[in-house]
C-alpha cells in the first residue's frame, strides 16, 4: 500500500470502527441539556415538602398521597397552587419518631404541618412567584391528606375546594376575599371513609356542580397487617388485603347544600378500591358520565341514564379490564381525544409490570384496549403510574402525554436505600400518527427521580404553553415550566356559565379551522390522580394563525359559536354571548 492510500484508509478505518462501536454501546444516549420543561419550584418560591408520617409500621395511607390543585382562588387571572400534606396516622407519634422527617433538603424555613396554599404573584408583578398564604386563607388543615377537587359549587364566581383525606374530608367555601370557610357539615358533604380522588361535575344538568368522591379500602390502623413482598421483606400492603368501599355521590340541591344520593343513584351497585375519577360525556348524549379507576378491581364506567341514575357499563363497554380481561391496578385517569377522531378516550395508569391502559372510544360508548397499538404498552411496563394528563406541550394541535411515576413497594435496584420507591416520570410526544416516548431526549427535568403521585396541568405564567405541577410522596413538588421553543399558535379559553355552572366545567370547546376538522377539547380539571388542573381549555393550533371561531357546547346540550377570536390569546367566553350553533 502506498502512502497515498494509507491516510484515507486510516481515517476511514477509524471512522468505520468508531461508528460500529458507537452502535454497539446502544445503551448510551445523549440527553439534551435543555428540554421542553424546566423544574422551577425553588426559583419561584414553591417551598413545600410532603411528609408521609412513616414510622416503620408501613401504614398503607402513607404511600398513597398526595395531590395538588391549580385554581385562581383570588380571581386575579393567574393560577394559584394548593398542595396536600400528610401526617402521622398514630397521633401519639412526634416528629422525632418520623423515619423521614421533613427538614432534609427543606430550605423553606420552619416546616409547617398541614396543606398549603400558594398565591401566584404573576398578576400584578409580571413575575412568576408564589407566596404561602395558607394562614390568611384558612385552608391549612392537618391530616393524612390525599387529594383535592376544585369547583364553584355555589356559583358565586370563586372556586371552592373539597379536600379528601384518610379521615374526615373538608369542603372549603371560598369567601371571595382571599379566605375560605370549612362548611363541610353545613353543606352535608361529611365523609370519613378513606377518600382519594373527587370531582365536581354537573351530573343532572341543573347548572349546579355535584360532587363524586372515590373511596379506597377499609384500612384498619390498629389491625394493620404485616405484608411482605415477593422476597419476603416487610413492605406496604396491596389493596387486595382489604375490602373496597363504595364511592359516594352528593347531589347539589342549591343554597350551598348537598344531598347524599349514593344509593338512590345506583352507585352502590358496583365498587372497587377507587383511586381515580373523571367526568366526561362518553356517548355524546348530552349527559355527563363518570369513570372510576379501581386498584386491582374492575374499573367502573358510570353511564348517566338521566334523573341522577347511573349504570355501570364498563364490562360490555370494554373499559373494565385490559385486553386480556385482567383487572389492573388503576390509579390515574386521563381523558382526551388522542387521535382527534371525535370521541374521548380513557387512559389509566397502572402498576409496574402491567402497562398503562389506553381505552380508545369507538364513538358508541364502546371502548377497545388500544394501548399497544398506540405504542404506550412497552414504555410503561417498567413504571408504576399515578398522575397523568393529556396536554399539547408543543402546541402542534396533537395531545401529548405526561405520566407521573413512583413505586408502592421496594424497587429492586434501590433496595437498601432509605426510601426505595423512586422512579422517573415519562413524556410521550404525539405527532398525529403515533405516540413516542421522548423522555430520554427531553432534558434534565425528565431525568429526575422521585416517588411521583399527583399531577395538575395549567398555564401558570399565561404564556400559552401548558406547565405542570407533579407532586412527590415524601418529597418536594416539581414545578415544570414549559420552555418549549416550537412556534405553534395557541388559544386558552376560559368558560363562564350563566345558565350552566359558573365555571363552565365540563363544557366541550372546539376551535373551527377552515378546511380542517374542528379540534375538540373539554374544560376538565378532574381526572389525573387526586389532583385538580386548570379548568381553562388549552388548544395548540400548530400553523393555524387564524381560526374561524370557537364553539362551546355547555353541559346540558346548548351550543354557541363565538367569532372573531384571535389566536395566541386568553379569552373568556360567557354563556349567552355567542350565537347559537348547529353543526
Amino acid at each position: 500500500m502506498t502512502i497515498r492510500y494509507a491516510l484515507p484508509f486510516a481515517v476511514a478505518s477509524l471512522f468505520t470502527a468508531a461508528s460500529l462501536f458507537t452502535a454497539c454501546s446502544a445503551g448510551h444516549r445523549t440527553v439534551a441539556s435543555t428540554g421542553p420543561f424546566r423544574e422551577a419550584s425553588h426559583e419561584t418560591g414553591l417551598d413545600f415538602q410532603h411528609f408521609t408520617g412513616a414510622t416503620g409500621d408501613f401504614y398503607m395511607p402513607e404511600i398513597v398521597g398526595a395531590g395538588v390543585a391549580l385554581l385562581d382562588y383570588d380571581g386575579d387571572g393567574d393560577l394559584d397552587i394548593y398542595l396536600i400534606q400528610g401526617s402521622f396516622l398514630n397521633p401519639a407519634k412526634k416528629l422525632i419518631d418520623a423515619l423521614y422527617p421533613p427538614g432534609k433538603d427543606w430550605s423553606g424555613g420552619d416546616w409547617k404541618p398541614g396543606n398549603r396554599l400558594f398565591r401566584n404573584d404573576l398578576i400584578p408583578s409580571g413575575k412568576l412567584h408564589f407566596t404561602d398564604v395558607t394562614e390568611q386563607a384558612g385552608v391549612g388543615s392537618v391530616g393524612e391528606g390525599m387529594g383535592v377537587a376544585v369547583g364553584d359549587y355555589n356559583n358565586d364566581g370563586f372556586p371552592d375546594l373539597y379536600v379528601t383525606n384518610f379521615g374526615a374530608n373538608i369542603l372549603y367555601r371560598n369567601n371571595s376575599n382571599g379566605t375560605f370557610t370549612d362548611v363541610t357539615k353545613e353543606a352535608g358533604v361529611e365523609d370519613s371513609q378513606w377518600s382519594t380522588s373527587a370531582a365536581f361535575c354537573d351530573l343532572d344538568g341543573d347548572g349546579r356542580l355535584d360532587l363524586f368522591v372515590a373511596h379506597y379500602v377499609n384500612f384498619p390502623v390498629v389491625g394493620n397487617p404485616k405484608c411482605k413482598n415477593g422476597s419476603g421483606e416487610r413492605d406496604y400492603c396491596g389493596p387486595k388485603t382489604f375490602h373496597p368501599v363504595p364511592s359516594r355521590l352528593f347531589h347539589n340541591i342549591g343554597n350551598g347544600k348537598f344531598e347524599d344520593v349514593t344509593e338512590k343513584a345506583g352507585i352502590t351497585a358496583a365498587y372497587g378500591a377507587g383511586l381515580g375519577v373523571a367526568c366526561a360525556d362518553f356517548n355524546h348524549d348530552g349527559r355527563m358520565d363518570l369513570y372510576v379507576a379501581n386498584d386491582q378491581n374492575a374499573n367502573i364506567l358510570w353511564m348517566n341514564k338521566g334523573d341522577l341514575h347511573f349504570e355501570d357499563q364498563a364490562l360490555l363497554a370494554g373499559a373494565a379490564y385490559n385486553g386480556e380481561g385482567k383487572a389492573l391496578s388503576g390509579m390515574g385517569i386521563a381523558i382526551g381525544d388522542v387521535d382527534n377522531h371525535g370521541s374521548e378516550d380513557i387512559l389509566v395508569t397502572n402498576l409496574m409490570g402491567e402497562a398503562n391502559s389506553l381505552f380508545r372510544n369507538e364513538g358508541n360508548g364502546f371502548f377497545h384496549d388500544s394501548t399497544a397499538e398506540f405504542g404506550l404498552a412497552a414504555p410503561s411496563l417498567p413504571y408504576t403510574g399515578f398522575g397523568v394528563k393529556w396536554l399539547d406541550y408543543d402546541n402542534d394541535s396533537f395531545l401529548d402525554l405526561y405520566t407521573v411515576n413512583g413505586a408502592v413497594e421496594t424497587v429492586n435496584a434501590l433496595r437498601g436505600k432509605p426510601y426505595p420507591y423512586q422512579m422517573k416520570n415519562r413524556l410521550f410526544h404525539n405527532d398525529g400518527k403515533k405516540l413516542m416516548d421522548v423522555s430520554e431526549v427531553s432534558g434534565a427535568a425528565l431525568q429526575l427521580e422521585a416517588v411521583g403521585r399527583g399531577l395538575a396541568i395549567g398555564d401558570l405564567n399565561n404564556d400559552g404553553r401548558v406547565d405542570m405541577i407533579a407532586t412527590n410522596n415524601n418529597g418536594r413538588p416539581w414545578l415544570l415550566l414549559n420552555q418549549d421553543q416550537s412556534d405553534g399558535h395557541w388559544l386558552l379559553v376560559q368558560t363562564e356559565g350563566t345558565r350552566t355552572n359558573r365555571m363552565g366545567l365540563g363544557a366541550e370547546v372546539a376551535v373551527l379551522r377552515r378546511g380542517r376538522k374542528p379540534l375538540w377539547r373539554r374544560s376538565q380539571p378532574d381526572g389525573s390522580y387526586v389532583s385538580a388542573s386548570d379548568p381553562r381549555v388549552h388548544f395548540g393550533l400548530g400553523d393555524s394563525e387564524k381560526i374561524d371561531g370557537v364553539v362551546v357546547r355547555w353541559v346540558g346540550g346548548s351550543a354557541e359559536v363565538f367569532r372573531n377570536v384571535k389566536t395566541d390569546s386568553i379569552v373568556k367566553l360567557r354563556e349567552g354571548s355567542g350565537q347559537p350553533w348547529h353543526p
Binding site: 484508509f9 389491625g223 397487617p225 404485616k226 405484608c227 380481561g325 411496563l381 413497594e409
Partner: protein, 475 residues
C-alpha cells in the same frame, strides 16, 4: 474505471477496511457480559436470604460460569427481582450462547419489561438453539406480536396449532394475531377453541367476548362475559421451564398462592398441605398459620384450626385469624367464645363486614335479634352489596315482623347469579309466602328450580385466604 492493477490496489485498500468493520461488528455481537448485579438481602427472611446469598456466592466465585449466573437469575426471578434476574440471564447467555435455558429465560424477562426488540432477538436465539421447543417458538410469536410483526407471528402460531392442536394457549395466541390483523371472525373461531380446550382460561374467554362485540353480536358477547365473570382468574398452567423457577421458591407467599388456587378448585386438603409446608419452612410465618385456621375450618378439623390460631395470635396479636377462629367456634356452637373472637377482630377493624355480620349471627342465635340487626347494619355501611349480610339481615327483619324491609334485603341477594342463588331465591319465596304474596312466592320457587345448582350453605360466609401480599402479588 480502474485497470486491473488499480482494482487489485483498491481491494488491497478496501480489505483492511472490511476487516476492521467485521472485527468491530463481531466485537459488537460479542458484548462483554455486564457485571453481576448487586443483590441486597439484609431484610429477607433467613431461609430466603441463605438461598439467595448462596447463589450470589456461587456466581461471584465463578464469574465465567454461565450456569452460575443463570441459576442466580432463576433464584432472583422466583423472588420477583426480575430486573436483576434479567441481568444475570443476559450474562449467562453471553457467556454460553449455546444453552437454551438462558436465551429462553432472558426472552421471558425482556417481554415482561417491554423490551420487545431484544425479546425478539433473544427468542430467535432460543429457537436457533432448539428449533423443536414449542415454548420458545411461542415466546417468539408473542414477541413478534408485541412488535407488530403480525405476519411472522401468525405463521408461528399457525404452525404450533397444527402441531399441537389441543393446547389452548396456541389458539389464544393465534386469535390475538388475527384480531390485530382485523380478522375478527377467524379470531372468534380461535378464541372459541381455546375456551373449549380450557374452559377456565379467562383471558381467552374475555377476548372471545370482546371479539363478539366487535363483530356486533352483543348477545354472545354478554353470554361470554357472564361465563368469564364466574372465573376471572383462570389460566392454563405455565410451561415446564417456568415451573422450574417457581419450584425454587421457599417463601411462604407462593405457598399461600398455591393454597388459594387449591381452595378455589375445592381441594382444601391440598391447600392445607401447601400451608403446612410453609410453616415447616418457617414456623414464624403468621400468615401461613392464619390461613391454616381457614383451611382447617373448611375441613372441619377443629383441633388443628385452634392449634394454628393460638400460634398465629401469639406471633401477631393483630392477626386476621381472630375472625375465622370465630367461625370455627361458631360451627361448634361455642357461641360466647365465638362472639369474643369476632369482637377481637372488630377491635382491630371496626368496619370489617365479615366480623360484624358473624357477630350479628351469634347474637341472633343467643336471642338478641335487635343486637344482630344493629351489627348487620354496621356491616353494610362498608359493603352494602354483601349477600351474606343482606341475607342475615333479611331473616332477622322477618323475625321482627318487618316483612317488607326483609324482602328488600333478600332481593339484594339475588345477584350475581351463581350456585348460591337458588338457595337465596327459596328463602325469598318463603318471605313472600309469609306476607301472603303467593304469586311472587311461586315465581321465586320456580326460578330457583330453573337455575341449575344444588342447595348450598346459604349462611356460609364467603371466605378467602389472607395473602399478606403487597400490591404486585396476584391471586
Amino acid at each position: 474505471m480502474f485497470g486491473h492493477n488499480g482494482g487489485i490496489r483498491r481491494s488491497f485498500v478496501l480489505s483492511p477496511l472490511i476487516i476492521t468493520a467485521l472485527s468491530a461488528g463481531l466485537a459488537c455481537r460479542r458484548q462483554e457480559p455486564s457485571p453481576l448485579p448487586k443483590v441486597v438481602t439484609g431484610q429477607f427472611p433467613s431461609r430466603i436470604r441463605a438461598q439467595v446469598d448462596a447463589s450470589v456466592q456461587q456466581a461471584t466465585a465463578h464469574p465465567d460460569d454461565a450456569g452460575a449466573s443463570g441459576r442466580l437469575g432463576m433464584v432472583l426471578q422466583t423472588y420477583e427481582q426480575l430486573d436483576l434476574a434479567e441481568i444475570c440471564y443476559r450474562r449467562a447467555h453471553l457467556l454460553d450462547p449455546k444453552t437454551f435455558e438462558w436465551a429462553y429465560y432472558l426472552t421471558v424477562t425482556e417481554l415482561i419489561h417491554g423490551e420487545v426488540a431484544q425479546a425478539i432477538a433473544d427468542a430467535r436465539a432460543a429457537v436457533r438453539i432448539d428449533g423443536d421447543s414449542r415454548p420458545a417458538r411461542m415466546r417468539l410469536a408473542e414477541a413478534l406480536l408485541q412488535g407488530k410483526q403480525y405476519g411472522e407471528s401468525r405463521r408461528i402460531y399457525e404452525a404450533l396449532v397444527s402441531e399441537e392442536s389441543d393446547l389452548a394457549a396456541y389458539h389464544y395466541g393465534l386469535g390475538k394475531v388475527l384480531i390485530a390483523q382485523g380478522g375478527v371472525q377467524d379470531a372468534i373461531a380461535q378464541f372459541r377453541r381455546a375456551c373449549e380446550l380450557s374452559p377456565i382460561f379467562s383471558a381467552a374467554r374475555y377476548s372471545l367476548a370482546m371479539a363478539y362485540r366487535q363483530y356486533n353480536d352483543l348477545d354472545q358477547a354478554r353470554a361470554q362475559l357472564a361465563i368469564y365473570q364466574a372465573n376471572p382468574h383462570g389460566a392454563p398452567p405455565d410451561d415446564h421451564l417456568m415451573a422450574q423457577i417457581t419450584d425454587l421458591n421457599q417463601g411462604g407467599l407462593i405457598r399461600v398462592q398455591a393454597a388459594q388456587q387449591y381452595l378455589a378448585q375445592g381441594r382444601p386438603a391440598e391447600a392445607a398441605a401447601e400451608l403446612e409446608t410453609a410453616v415447616a419452612n418457617d414456623p414464624d410465618d403468621e400468615v401461613a398459620h392464619s390461613n391454616l385456621v381457614t383451611v382447617y375450618w373448611e375441613l372441619r378439623q377443629w383441633d388443628k384450626a385452634e392449634q394454628h390460631y393460638h400460634i398465629a395470635a401469639r406471633l401477631n396479636p393483630a392477626t386476621s385469624a381472630h375472625y375465622v377462629f370465630g367461625l370455627v367456634l361458631f360451627d361448634q356452637k361455642r357461641y360466647p367464645e365465638a362472639a369474643e373472637a369476632f369482637r377481637r377482630a372488630l377491635a382491630l377493624n371496626p368496619g370489617d363486614n365479615g366480623a360484624n355480620t358473624q357477630l350479628g349471627r351469634v347474637l341472633g342465635f343467643q336471642g338478641d335479634v335487635k343486637g344482630a340487626i344493629r351489627q348487620y347494619e354496621i356491616a353494610l355501611r362498608n359493603d352494602p352489596n354483601s349477600r351474606a349480610t343482606n341475607y342475615e339481615l333479611g331473616l332477622a327483619l322477618m323475625k321482627q315482623g318487618q316483612k317488607q324491609e326483609a324482602i328488600e334485603r333478600l332481593l339484594k341477594t339475588l345477584q350475581p347469579v351463581d350456585g348460591k342463588t337458588p338457595g337465596y331465591m327459596r328463602e325469598l319465596a318463603e318471605a313472600y309466602r309469609k306476607t301472603g304474596n303467593e304469586e311472587r312466592a311461586r315465581y321465586y320457587v320456580q326460578a330457583a328450580a330453573a337455575l341449575t345448582g344444588t342447595a348450598v350453605r346459604t349462611a356460609a360466609p364467603d371466605i378467602t385466604l389472607q395473602s399478606g401480599a403487597t400490591a404486585s402479588q396476584r391471586p
